[in-house]
Symmetry: none
Subunit: 127 residues, 3 copies
Amino acid sequence: MTEELDLVNRDPNNINDHLKVSFEDILAEPEGAHSLDCIWKCSYRCFTCWKDLCYTILTTLCAICIAAEWGCEFAYVTFVHVWYVTPLFKLLEINCACLQKLYGMCIHCCMDPFCEAMSIIFTPFKR
Amino acid sequence: MTEELDLVNRDPNNINDHLKVSFEDILAEPEGAHSLDCIWKCSYRCFTCWKDLCYTILTTLCAICIAAEWGCEFAYVTFVHVWYVTPLFKLLEINCACLQKLYGMCIHCCMDPFCEAMSIIFTPFKR
Amino acid sequence: MTEELDLVNRDPNNINDHLKVSFEDILAEPEGAHSLDCIWKCSYRCFTCWKDLCYTILTTLCAICIAAEWGCEFAYVTFVHVWYVTPLFKLLEINCACLQKLYGMCIHCCMDPFCEAMSIIFTPFKR
């Protein structure tokens, strides 16, 4: 079951690429505004540590429950779509085919003679 | 009766392809935001288990009744369409053909001479 | 009388093709959302049985009466069209031809010289 689970690349479809944020994307000192080297280094380390720590704590506490919830949710949605929405659409399609036939009949009835008459204007172009 | 029923591929016409959702499509951790391996594995297992479990429970409880309901519904719709709607359309078609003839006669009567005259403008294009 | 009636193909002109719905067209489980095999089989059987049963009951009860009604209706419509509408149209056509001639004469009288003059614009296109 977990054989296919890739622990290294956890986003094979790149659906969360916009969340890839590193220190350089957030904090950057331009030329002429440099803090002390040790402060900059320490800031980098602090940022990374706290980011990893917080994320790990949050996921450890909640991830499994949330995953289970999403599992239920998607099972329910799939169920509703498979057993209600798709058949309902088929039903609508059948009724829509009828309406289209009726509407097409009216349009042909009203517009065909008019367009036939109008086409007389262009008879000189006939070959 | 069930000989033709394919238990492996249950969507031969691909009508519910949009409901194919796997763990990778829903949950994905980008680079730099990885939870602990055991948590990630456990989340995967939980998601898959709950999804399968919920779907199985829901279908076991309701699927047969729903299928029976849809059977009745489609039988009724087929009956109404075969015995009422289609003949009614044939009737409408007959009457519509008459109306179209009458309406066409009026339109042709009014517009043909006018369009014929207009077509004189384009006589130089005649070959 | 029933020698020509084809009991196998009952829609030789394919006028009700949109009503051909099988189980596969209505209910379909995508990959990763499969109910138990017995449930799926049972759903199939239920759907098919109820559809056939309902349709059979409905037609057994009503089909003959409905067919008789439509027979009367179409006989009446045919009668009206053959003995009233078509001769009436012929009459209208004759009168309309007269009107069209008169009206056409006026239109041609008024518009022909004007259009002839306009057509001079396009004489360079003459071949």
